[in-house]
Amino acid sequence: MNNYICETCGVQYEGSVTTPEYCTICTEARQYVSPNGTSMDDFEKNDRCWFQKSNPI
């Protein structure tokens, strides 16, 4: 289980086995999804995972 952090807004998620595919905070009018797509980081490692597929949001 990892507490992933969104690289665009910096919010940390509750523990999950798989990387969250999108960020709830960023997919809202007061923030934004990076033009490069969503990316999540691990707290300790630089376990970068990019999601550039079109998310159903």
Binding site: I5, C9, V11, Q12, I25, Q31, D41
Partner: protein
């Protein structure tokens, strides 16, 4: 993050006030603050990283008793921080739906104000977020008072002025009526200096800056400020 070379930098701001942020910039790149008051130290807003160096340095400054957050964009790793220092995180209950990592460390407060200590009061202003809040530190700045605003009140390029937006990245303004309401609430607070979440500071006469900025904003929205 740590493996990728991110580090927190802590900086002295003024008597009993420090700021800290992550370098190089991570996420939104906000600055958080640490206030020392009589028997009660508080962190205002949060950042994504907590590293050994910043944990140690904050402990050397007396440790912390509570964390309070202006709004969801700075929730960051608040639970990680709260667990590490074993302290509560105060969040306005109107923004509960935006908490992405629930925890027993989170204390949801309600209503318009919460006195955490006699010189530290949280006030809900709403606007940017429904539960959007500011921290009034009455004794800071040689007893003239400090207001920490996140970007519920935003310091703009001219540091004698502030602004108020629903969405900063997407440039969506707030209604004039809401800004008037915010200005009326802030009018009652004691401060002469204002710090935002990007280390921009209205150094002096900040109370007046908020009032004149709200007036300008309302005139702009109402179409009476300019004729272009």
């Amino acid at each position: 993050m740590i493996d990728a070379g991110f580090k927190n930098q802590i900086q002295f701001e003024e008597d009993r006030l420090y700021s800290f942020k992550t370098e190089p910039k991570f996420g939104i790149g906000q600055t958080a603050y640490f206030i020392q008051t009589e028997g009660f130290n508080i962190v205002w807003d949060c950042i994504a990283l907590i590293d050994d160096h910043s944990f140690k340095e904050i402990n050397e400054l007396g440790g912390i008793d509570a964390i309070a957050i202006s709004h969801p964009h700075y929730y960051a790793s608040q639970v990680e921080w709260a667990e590490k220092f074993n302290v509560p995180v105060y969040i306005h209950e109107d923004d509960k739906e935006w908490v992405m990592r629930p925890s027993d460390q989170i204390v949801y407060w309600s209503g318009e104000s919460l006195e955490l200590q006699n010189e530290i009061v949280l006030h809900r202003l709403g606007g940017h977020f429904k539960g959007g809040s500011v921290l009034e530190w009455k004794d800071g700045n040689d007893n003239k008072g400090v207001l920490l605003t996140g970007d519920v009140i935003q310091v703009v390029a001219d540091h004698n002025w502030v602004s108020f937006m629903y969405s900063y990245p997407n440039l969506i303004p707030l209604p004039a009526s809401k800004v008037e309401e915010i200005a009326q609430s802030v009018e009652k607070m004691k401060f002469d200096r204002l710090y935002n979440a990007f280390h921009n500071i209205v150094r002096d006469d900040a109370h007046n800056s908020v009032q004149k900025s709200a007036k300008r904003y309302m005139e702009a929205l109402n179409g009476t400020l300019f004729n272009t």
